[in-house]
Subunit: 333 residues, 2 copies
Amino acid sequence: MAGQAPVTLATVARSVGVSPSTVSRVLNSPGDAALRWGSAATIDRIRTRAAELGYRPNPQAAALRTARSGLVGVLVPRLQDFVLATIYEGIEEGAAEHGISTFVTNSLDDPARQRSRSQMMLDRRVDGLVFGDAHLDHVVIDEIAARGVPLVLVSRRSGDYVSATCDDVLGGRLAAEHLLAAGRRRMAVLAGLEFASTSHDRTAGFLAAAAAAGVETPRVVHGPFDAAGGREATEQLLAGGAVPDAIFAANDFAAIGAFGVLRDRGLRVPDDVALIGYNDTPLASEMLVPLTTVRSPMHRMGRRAIDLLVELLEGRSPEPELLAPELVVRGTA
Amino acid sequence: MAGQAPVTLATVARSVGVSPSTVSRVLNSPGDAALRWGSAATIDRIRTRAAELGYRPNPQAAALRTARSGLVGVLVPRLQDFVLATIYEGIEEGAAEHGISTFVTNSLDDPARQRSRSQMMLDRRVDGLVFGDAHLDHVVIDEIAARGVPLVLVSRRSGDYVSATCDDVLGGRLAAEHLLAAGRRRMAVLAGLEFASTSHDRTAGFLAAAAAAGVETPRVVHGPFDAAGGREATEQLLAGGAVPDAIFAANDFAAIGAFGVLRDRGLRVPDDVALIGYNDTPLASEMLVPLTTVRSPMHRMGRRAIDLLVELLEGRSPEPELLAPELVVRGTA
DNA sequence: CTGAAAGCGCTTACAG
DNA sequence: CTGAAAGCGCTTACAG
């Protein structure tokens, strides 16, 4: 591929007049650490010669020898989801800084696919796995963990696995408290997918705050984390009884769907129905009435997840990380 | 990692009582092709034994030997962009069917980053590259192509490189003809990024149709392919003179931004201003007034791109692929 | 400090 | 048809 004869460790060694062992040792030692392996002059010659020749270590060869690939696999429900795409950007960025490369793949939240895609990544000899698609029941993850694979969760927590997530219980509470402070009393929740901790925790936080305020228990409707899902859930909600005076959608896209339904029915937002989303997606501020939402640190979650995995790979036992959400008040509530 | 002692070709060979060579040959021959390497009985024993032992070939070892990694690198402007995320899904899906794994990374349309990220992928010994972020000037791609790296473009064409794209000139024309047929005469274009063929071709097709109809030349404003970009471009448009009676946004998200500005100014869509987007993104149909748009085959583009790259890797010379767009008429025009 | 040697798990001419 | 042997490009005990 590369056109010319590839330059290997041996090429550099021959060119400098030392053994490949020495070149390997020097090139793998950062800064002055290389002084262990040769005189300052030799080290300098090796480094400059390697650069001049355009030497690029072959990671496959190193991986074969060390049984460490420098590869990490990432599973997400779907990369089309802005939230997961953003989390993945954080993962990739953090991984690059650690000298790690990442594979992503969509599991579509389907257990069979979670299994097969994980296997494909293990076949590629990844050093570890990041799951952005954990289910609360953690059946699939248990299977994989049982094989001794280092893994961390991101976005959705589950069981006792190490994870980097948003404090979604707090996020739900922030939303409820804001609504309650504005005098809303008949609230409802578009909760998202039942098997996801994001859905579960945001709803739990919201309900707890409502209960603490002694307000009528909010109705809860589940459905996909996208506009169509929000639309459908809202229709279900409106079909099933009194119109609520506030809706908390556990996801901005679901909120966008809800907004459409409300306006179609002639309900004014926020006058008739207040609306709060979750994540603070760019489109949130572009809505006709800018969306009030709970901002989650998507990008940072991704970065922290890869940090946690690196710690795990180094043999340490990192603590799960709970990042703080933040209420962003705009027009809809 | 894998807990137990890893099972290698040698493990299987010992277990069956043949040489590793034979196991390798048999396992790499599909179906009856393996008959070249042994009796039906032996082949059968090798295959079942490998499966029983859970043998998984080590791709790094194979890559080292064959100088073929089975890895492909994909560069996109940004994975957060739904369009690119969808194209990437097509790429990954197609690649998996070819037994290829893919890396994606964001270039942010920054040439320095295009260079550095490409280099990172080449360092990982990818067999080829897919560029979803080509610029019309193809400077960076020329550099990489000069090194003999097999590559294809997707979404955006450039120079004479093999690409899988949407027929954007036709797409622009479809939009213009629809608007003209509806009696619109003072049209404008939110063109997107000047250096992208998508922007260039959609605009060119639109302008050509307008010229053919003898209508006043549409104003053209450039800007990012997202809601904020569409908002800003629309404000620029409205600040700079007469209100157009139709806007063609070369991207659905830009159309969403435009829609917000128009409504904010009390302009009715489509009564006062017709609006057409591009790509047919899910949110398009969720807008308060569902968006009329030009559907582009995003997913299929991705699949075709990886097919083209595979052909290239097999030494063939595939033709560029131009996929047909389709006008989807909804509420805004 | 430094090199020769072995070996990671494959594939594939080369002999038989 | 089948196996022994070499070698892909690294890293790392092992000697000196």
